[in-house]
Symmetry: C2
Subunit: 463 residues, 2 copies
């Protein structure tokens, strides 16, 4: 499929904004005639003002208030009081956008705009709204509220979908509460092991996933396999997201078109030692679980740097010692490691080295390696060529600069790619900041993202 | 004073157990005659059964139930509900032992047995009952409940003190809640800076010391200088304590006679970095506050080992990262360091090296060293020769093996030494374990400690 054709397909979004809406597949042929202009803005079938970015920003701000930590930080943990309140807020917005709302057993929320071919696989978009402790208000949120605004924009433009359009709010993209990242999309993608694990997993306060989900109104029959998507549910999936990196801002580019998502893995490690009194136990008698953890944290950094590739990253975001008193030698330690790469094999080599280090540190220090658990070790995902072209074409129609790029952060798209051709739209964010209160994307950049998303959806819906 | 004389003085504890109690200073002369034997036990003026170790063990077990963590662990934090309940338990036992009870503004509790010379400086003994998180039931407790049992033993033996005897339960020997170790004894020793600091200090939950103390019934007038001891309050102070090290058990020795207490210091360090997303921020762009903390923890160990002395120890018992999510680079870290030595200068060299490392790590990693605070840096304390001799003589009279040794853990004695000649009696504990649930001392070893304490108190009271 040549880019011109894609361009034309996209342009029908404008065509459909005319008063007399007819079969858009017919309009496609008219669009082919080259009739693209309206109100003198040849490049933008949506007027800038047609993205209601003032209202969208207001919604982003409103949603950020559902937080367990004070503003400007956001903390929104799966099935917490604030998460449940935020879900109501999203469902309400979906309803106002004319979407019919349904939820599955883990609380993935779907808002559907029925197309003229309701039995054809639908086109989906969406992201998440959960937020790790003390993070920001844009990660995920832009891809949910932005998707709803894209629907509103298409309605205001007079567009009528052929394939149905669905906005998805995924449950627990962040692993905060149950240690499982992309819980909702991972389950949608058909993870049998996850469906089973969810019936038994508990959080740090020993609250089971089942009890927590039930308290939020989900998990009514405890069978999570009914969440799995059929192969033919969606013909495409697109996610709008802040870049969470500095490249677009640094290079002054409006839109990032993601071609691949780096392969993430997460590991939990526990060390155990004898502990004891910080004054009385002499250094040669010690087997300090805290120092074993410190050493492994530095080993993670070392092995990541040894890969020699800028694309390999590794982080120890959680480091805890027990009992946690200044005059007590740590008898237990717990660290959690996140490592990613666009090259799965290279990342797996890093994981092997980390495991070897954990074993050798424990032997050398006489500390017990109580657990070395690879919680997840996912392959990377590639965007589908057809979706990439649709996104690229949209940026061209809109006259927005764009750049093809890798997503180093993982997203629900990583798992949706297993069930449908996938693509992601990135927008710049301030200094690349993410997962902290300083996270910021400008209303203009968000509006650009919403327009590219809307135009991409029209293309995919009519295709 | 020759050891024979001390022996004789001690022996009066037995003498006084006769039915017709007269002026013990007169009895001293009778004891001098060499009349030491009763019931064929020439070496032990107290029958083994006279230490009611069954009841003492019961009290230790009862006290351990006032805990914020489940048995066998004990967690008893200053001015908590359980701490206040445990204080009532102690005051009740003091009252039953015929002691007149008083408390000062921070909750140091004093139980006094008035001697025949009530205006003479008294002889004091005691320890603490607060317990760090997930610790054991003997640390400190043996020196409080054991002291009350020593008083009971002396009463049952018919002893009559010349100098008054006082049992002290010190407030917050452990630094858990307000980061200040030996809070009660430090204040008794006249710390003007502490008296001032207490009016402003807050805990991790932002509860002020004043509010917490008031909630427990103390700090009525907010002037803590009235806690300071006069120079002439006590003629001697003795503390009974578990060794918290393995030496006595390994060598099969019953009693440790402490000649010096190692010099403790504690340090708080905070690092700050930019944090960010664990996937999106590439390694060269990072300034990871968690890795800075890990590196400093290992540097503490390195500098301690560099001292070349077995007597130098250093511990990182607290290590925290913020925000504490697996996919978030730590933007803040906090560690607390405890370092001690019997050689103050050598320990201070370690502190200097730790500070240099903190600075160089922060520079190299581009991480901000937000705080490097030496919370306390105390000198070591030497036991007084007169008290050491009294304790040594008591072990000889009782036929108990003993060993002179260093206390590597600090105790309230470290500060009481500033106000009175000080000595400490150690008893063996299982594998040297302390500050953990496995902490254990046998009833027999505790009974031996109580007997040595009782006999030492008689000596010091009559002297």
């Amino acid at each position: 499929m040549g880019w011109q054709f894609v361009l034309i397909i996209c342009a029908c979004a404008y065509i459909c904004s005319a008063e007399n809406v007819v079969d858009p597949t017919i309009k496609t042929m008219e669009a082919f005639s080259g009739y693209l202009n309206v109100n003198g803005n040849e490049k933008d079938p949506f007027h800038s003002t047609m993205v209601d970015f003032v209202n969208l920003q207001k919604q982003i701000d409103q949603l950020s208030a559902f937080s367990d930590s004070p503003a400007p930080s956001v903390t929104r943990i799966l099935y917490s009081h604030n998460d449940v309140a935020a879900r109501r807020f999203i469902k309400d917005l979906m309803g106002r956008a004319g979407l019919s709302v349904r939820e599955d057993a883990v609380g993935n929320i779907f808002g559907r705009w029925e197309g003229s071919e309701p039995d054809a696989p639908a086109v989906a978009t969406g992201s998440h709204i959960d937020a790790i402790p003390y993070s920001g208000k844009y990660d995920g949120v832009v891809g949910v509220l932005g998707a709803i605004e894209a629907i509103n924009l298409l309605r205001r433009s007079g567009f009528r979908p052929k394939r149905s359009l669905e906005v998805i709010m995924f449950t627990s993209e962040e692993p905060t509460r149950y240690g499982i990242s992309c819980l909702g999309s991972r389950l949608l993608a058909g993870s049998v092991s996850l469906a089973k694990a969810l019936t038994q997993t508990v959080d740090n306060d020993n609250i089971s996933f089942l009890d927590a989900a039930k308290s939020a109104g989900y998990a009514k029959n405890e069978d999570f396999s009914n969440v799995f998507l059929d192969e033919k549910t969606y013909s495409a999936f697109v996610e709008l997201h802040i870049e969470q990196g500095p490249i677009l801002e640094n290079e002054g580019v409006s839109i990032g078109i993601v071609t691949a998502i780096a392969a993430p893995a997460s590991i939990k490690v526990d060390f155990g030692g004898n502990g004891g009194h910080a004054g009385a136990v002499l250094m040669p008698q010690r087997n300090d679980a805290g120092l074993a953890a410190a050493e492994l944290a530095l080993a993670v950094e070392k092995h990541v740097l040894e890969s020699g590739s800028i694309d390999t990253v590794g982080t120890v975001g959680i480091m805890e010692v027990h009992p946690g008193a200044i005059n007590s030698i740590p008898s237990k330690s717990h660290i959690e490691i996140d490592t990613r790469d666009i090259d799965e094999k290279r990342r797996n080599t890093v994981i092997e080295k980390i495991q070897e280090s954990a074993v050798s540190i424990s032997k050398r220090r006489g500390v017990e390696l109580l657990e070395f658990k690879i919680v997840n070790q996912d392959p990377p995902a590639l965007s589908d060529e057809s979706v990439v072209k649709a996104m690229e074409s949209a940026t061209q129609v809109l006259g927005l600069s764009h750049k093809k790029m890798i997503s180093r952060a993982y997203h629900d798209s990583l798992f949706m790619a297993r069930k449908a051709p996938m693509g992601m739209i990135f927008i710049p964010c301030y200094k690349g900041y993410s997962h902290k209160p300083e996270e910021y994307a400008s209303p203009e950049d968000i509006a650009n993202g919403v327009k590219v998303l809307a135009l991409t959806l029209t293309n995919l819906s009519l295709n």
